[in-house]
Symmetry: C2
Subunit: 442 residues, 2 copies
């Protein structure tokens, strides 16, 4: 293996100048600097070389001596509906629930184990108030009534004939990113901290079409009550502007009919609004002049402020981001090249930029996965050469409306440590010289 | 219910002029012509009204008398990995296989039951040559050798540190859309005819990075052999330009690690190329000066031409489209408004337009779901007022390189009825006065 110092220097040069302190590299240099790798990579500690060296030091046979593992017996036959590999059983949702009411609680998307922007439907987070109902589409109807010219009841058969639209959109629980008011940083993985957040390709009927058919008087009707058919009758008030805007009756999730846990046979989708408002198992929409002040928007989902007052009807999820890898639970495998990747999103529209820091002082702009879509998870990536020393990795997102994530300190000052909703302060992971990654406050 | 003729006329006017014969309507008229529905919809046979009328005629209680179905008992508790509703068990893949070798055959995506553009991973089509192997990622390696400066063996741990990219791309079997040379149109659903076609969000490593690290001499190396670890050792030759272009080592599918049926722990992804070339369970890439002429590209996947000769290495899947709903197996529910929707795609890049006809003579341009991405499934939609008479629904896609689907007759003239690969002729569904939808040749 070529460990010549000159080769290492040439490799460093080909990668280009660092874009920020503590090893952050320009990603384009790697992707378009092909010549850099031809015969030089050995000196530069790519992942391949670092692991080959480790294997050699451990006394194991070198990788090149391994036999290619071709199967000697026929594989499994066909199936009507596929499942993940048996080697991925640990890629699941962790969940917590009320022991007296096992259907009341939440499960979380394991973002530290995922890549891309779509959340697999089987791993979409859940926040249920009395379990997942089993609803036959033949029995289910959607009622639109209240301040309308004619009340309408839609069967599923009827709805399936209406025009549909398709949009990739995140759904995030207002209580996501909780616990950052604690005195000491919680040691937990990215899914546990940010996993009440998922992103799907939703297909459904623009709600405006159905409301127009019922006939809404825009001078009097200002709100909509949306009610679910679950045992909790989860219900929320929605401003009529949103209902007549980009609201959707979602019937499909990632191509197939919406999953039971997401509201089968239908849910309300309010892009960018807190998850709780995207009422699942939707069966009733009542047009009204005022909010209904349901139990789900008075006893819960109000935002406690430092002075003891509470803010109500704070719908939009703020701009936010986190690094999904490296993150807590990931052990660095020795110095060398790594990808830093994570997710950014905003209820206000598109993500404009994500900056990453490895030293807490200097920031580099990460590459965003195209296409960047509004109210959608945006994957960011950056190259990093870890020198084996201490490093603190942070991300800071800005949306197209110029909203920027505040520091944790600034957020706590504004909202207080008892406010459990809509935290969007900057978060951080640190690695020590041993390569153990932990959660730290910055 | 208001059945006043004047109201019906006003509704028709509000919808705007038809955009092509036999009831094709301008979709924007529906979406932005809200006033058209206020109090007028009853006369216009929207899906709601048509079904309400049918219910009334059947003697069943009217919908408005139905009780809202709220659950009276707590729902199901949380789960680590979710599954579709029990009411959707029929949304599965049909499959055919060799009785002597149950792992040899194919399963198909049920497009007639889906909407949107992403294919759920559990419903991605399969074409396997000796079953689905069960591969432990700890044992699996990727070898790059042949005409390279230094052969490399990558463990999964090493690959997981490399830079990734995310792209939505279709994969289509070269044998998709087969059987159109038959004398009589086969009566089968859209999945059976066009279901060897799926679309996922793939995340993985640009192959160029790994080839650059191994060191490919561009003056001599012209081809790459890609070999799978399955019991069939499925292997194909790939032009080096594609390998150094947009080829990817795909590690994630729709956000989670790639499914066993799609190549876990990794597959080769060659956007726009026939499915067979996107080698699954990839474990070896050998750089060479010439194609390898493997069994999978000599005995199979060559394209028989009318004169008895065969074309080899015809990689790119042509521009194509089909209507997924209404389609065979769908029974129209009486005259009135319907959505026509389907999918279009091209291995040459983006879809530029999709035209739809309901009378076989006049064509209207359908709305395309944004964002339109290259080598991706593009959903198209159009509004249709079915008058209850005979109608023939066809779609015709054009890609950004100006390739247009030929008629079936033109395609058969060029390739002959024995050519089973890459059929992209225009296909059609017809409805009779009873609302039964069948497959017809046009």
């Amino acid at each position: 293996m070529d460990s010549d110092k000159k080769a290492a220097q040439r490799f460093e040069q080909a990668l280009g100048e660092p874009v920020a302190g503590n090893g952050l590299l320009h990603r384009r240099a790697f992707l378009h600097g092909g010549a850099a790798f031809t015969g030089l990579a050995a000196a530069a500690l790519t992942a391949n070389d670092a692991l080959a060296q480790a294997a050699a030091q451990s006394g194991k046979p070198p990788l090149s001596a391994r036999t290619l593992m071709t199967q000697s017996t026929p594989g499994a036959p066909f199936s009507t509906y596929g499942t993940p590999s048996r080697y991925e059983v640990s890629t699941g949702r962790d969940f917590t629930f009320n022991a007296a009411a096992p259907g009341t609680g939440s499960s979380r998307t394991p973002h530290h184990l995922l890549d891309g922007t779509i959340t697999p439907s089987g791993l979409h987070f859940q926040r249920n108030h009395n379990g997942v109902p089993t609803i036959s589409p033949e029995d289910h109807t959607l009622l639109i009534h209240g301040m309308v010219k004619r009340p309408l009841t839609f069967t599923m058969d009827a709805l399936m004939r209406y025009p549909t639209e398709t949009h990739v959109r995140f759904v995030e629980c207002a209580g996501n990113n909780g616990g950052f008011g604690a005195a000491l940083p919680r040691q937990a993985n990215a899914g546990a901290m940010h996993g009440l957040l998922s992103c799907s390709e939703w297909t459904g009927i623009p709600l405006k079409i159905l409301l127009d058919e019922a006939g809404v008087d825009p001078t009097k009707a200002k709100w909509l009550l949306a009610e679910g058919a679950d045992a909790a009758s989860m219900s929320r008030s929605v401003p009529i502007e949103k209902a007549m805007g980009d609201a959707m009756i979602a019937l499909y999730q990632n191509g197939e009919r919406i999953r039971p846990e997401q509201g089968y046979p239908m849910r309300l989708l309010l892009p960018g609004f807190e998850g709780n408002q995207n009422v699942k198992w939707l069966h009733r929409l009542k047009v009204s002049a005022t909010p209904t002040f349901t139990k789900d928007e008075t006893s819960k989902y109000t935002e406690l402020l430092p002075g003891g007052k509470a803010a109500q009807f704070m719908f939009t999820q703020p701009v936010n981001s986190f690094i999904s890898r490296p993150s807590f639970g990931y052990d660095m495998q020795g110095p060398g090249l790594y990808q830093i990747t994570g997710l950014a999103w905003s209820g206000n529209g598109k993500i404009a930029k994500v900056e990453v820091s490895a030293d807490g002082k200097s920031w580099a702009q990460a590459a965003l996965t195209e296409p960047v879509l509004p109210m959608s998870l945006t994957r960011f990536r950056l190259w990093w050469k870890w020198d084996g020393g201490p490093a603190t990795l942070t991300s800071r997102a800005t949306d197209e409306k110029k909203n920027v994530q505040p520091t944790r300190t600034a957020w706590l000052k504004a909202y207080g440590a008892n406010q459990g909703y809509k935290f969007n302060g900057i978060t951080a992971w640190a690695t020590n010289e041993l390569g153990n990654v932990s959660h730290v406050y910055v």
